[in-house]
């Protein structure tokens, strides 16, 4: 299977645009990038907008595109959805359920509703427990206590993302960050600061999936092979996890590595879901790039920046490019394999992409090649 085309809207503030409209724009651009006509699409996999759930949302997007897909609908794993649905699209094509699939997402929490992001903490609200930041902060505190992870090490992840994003004309926040500035960033829920937390952005993205043979028939210009994919779902609420500092990201990556027949040492560049710096740090550990607990040391000294041992989030990630949940990481992986990134890793031949949702509740992985 290959990713035959990618497309996206502008990122940031898109007032007045509904998510169906944004999905259509992203799908149109992905079809243009693949150089194919809408008529060949017979699979449509859509992520339900996180900011507002709607019944039969996948069918609304299909109607807006005058498509009657053989396989279509929404899937919900929060931010892990996209790598997962790319996997489901591959399996659907392999099983003969469809031939050419689009995987798409749109969300408008910046100018539309943010109700889903601000939900109260249930009965635990009586103790002052609210929102998503605190779940990540709870995990970060445990990681710092168990392994001695330092604030400056979380900061190194934000600095790398913002450095890369500053060089990406599509990034919503093109403002480079230094470690000193990071350390001055105000606490939100300690031990997390404002600059540990991703952007809130409107936007949409889409990718086109088909077999390599179909891509040749349709004369797709720059297909990028999908080498492996996997999923793993921690599922339990943060306080209930017997081990807070390892997640099912490990299972997800092992599944994807096995399918691709490679290991972490073969990866040249990584797009690691960075809704919070601690999520990226733990994913690097769970993906086997270093030992559990050594993530802090791994990200230091420019190791994860362009020119370092493992450049990550070369388009700026959720911390700089767009807070949109996930598909932008896949698109940047495709650009790296095509050699067209604004922060191109020279000679990169393998890229791993992580997607995750909730509070490290869901996880999916994609490995791309050349």
């Amino acid at each position: 299977m290959v990713i035959a085309g990618i497309g996206h809207t502008a990122f940031g503030r898109l007032p007045g645009r509904d998510t169906v409209s944004m999905n259509v724009e992203a799908c149109r651009k992905a079809l243009e990038d693949a150089g194919i006509e809408k008529g060949v699409v017979d699979g449509l996999f859509v992520k339900v907008p996180t900011s507002r759930f709607e019944s039969m949302y996948g069918q609304k997007v299909a109607e807006a595109m005058r498509l009657q897909p053989r396989v279509g609908g929404v899937w919900d794993q929060g931010g892990a959805t996209n790598c997962s649905t790319i996997g489901f699209a591959c399996m659907s094509i392999a099983a003969g359920l469809c031939d050419v699939a689009i995987v798409a997402l749109a969300d408008n929490p910046k100018t539309g509703t943010r109700a889903a992001y601000e939900r109260a903490g249930g009965d635990d609200a009586a103790y002052g427990w609210f929102g998503v930041h605190a779940g990540y902060a709870m995990i970060a505190q445990r990681h710092m206590g168990e392994f001695g992870t330092q604030a400056e090490q979380l900061g190194a992840i934000a600095v790398a993302a913002r450095t890369h994003g500053a060089n990406n004309p599509h990034a919503a926040l093109r403002l480079p960050l230094t470690i000193d500035k990071y350390m001055e960033s105000p606490w939100i829920v300690e031990p997390l600061r404002r600059d540990d937390i991703c952007l809130v952005s409107d936007g949409a993205a889409a990718v086109v999936i088909m077999s390599e043979a179909r891509a040749r028939e349709l004369k797709v210009a720059a297909p990028v092979p999908i080498l492996g994919f996997g999923q793993g779902h921690t599922s339990w609420d943060v306080p209930q996890r017997p081990v807070m500092t390892t997640t099912a990201a490990k299972v997800s990556a092992q599944t994807a590595y096995r399918m691709a027949g490679i290991g972490p040492a073969d990866i040249d560049v990584a797009q690691i879901y960075d809704c919070y710096t601690i999520a990226a740090l733990m994913t690097l550990e769970d993906y086997g790039f270093c030992k559990k607990g050594d993530g802090g040391k791994f990200v230091e000294g420019g190791n994860i920046q362009l020119g370092g041992r493992l450049p990550i989030n070369t388009s700026g990630g959720l911390l700089s490019e767009t807070g949109m949940p996930g598909l932008q990481m896949v698109m940047e992986g495709v650009r790296q394999m095509r050699g067209t990134s604004h922060n191109q890793v020279k000679g990169a031949k393998k890229c791993i992409v992580s997607n995750q949702g909730g509070v490290m509740t869901t996880h999916s992985t994609l490995i791309l090649g050349v």
Binding site: Y127, R142, P186
Partner: protein, 130 residues
């Protein structure tokens, strides 16, 4: 100002909140497999059976982790920032969210002990350094 976000009482969890009001922290234990848990649920999450009973916790526990809110996400807590919310594991196994009261410096895995406090008439399972 928004009102205190009081817990929602249900048929399932009323024994928990009634227990706290009477000075006892209760948890559920499965009569079939012995698994113990919080918060309240209708089936044992281990063996999936629905035969269970309430037991009183010793009040001894361990601090798994904690956070400090510097921003209030609800009016009621605006005057309280910075305040902590902690994950506590009871000696019997169940885990709950709580607040750690007192001035002791917090560190992971430190022993903590139950210190029930009332807020707006609701007894809450807070803890202090033990």
């Amino acid at each position: 100002m928004e009102a205190f976000p009081a817990p929602e009482r249900t048929g399932l969890n009323s024994a928990y909140w009634d227990g706290l009001a009477e000075g006892r922290l209760m948890f559920q234990r499965c009569l079939a497999c012995g698994h113990a848990w919080l918060p309240a649920r209708a089936e044992c999450p281990e063996c999936l059976r629905a035969e269970w009973g309430w037991e009183e916790a010793s009040g001894q526990g361990r601090l798994v982790s904690w956070v400090v809110y510097h921003v209030a996400f609800h009016d009621w807590f605006k005057a309280r920032v910075p305040y902590n919310v902690a994950t506590v594991e009871l000696a019997e196994g169940p885990r709950l969210l709580s607040n750690i009261v007192g001035d002791a410096a917090l560190r992971i895995d430190m022993p903590v002990v139950l210190a029930i406090e009332r807020e707006e008439g609701v007894a809450l399972a807070r803890f202090r350094a033990g």
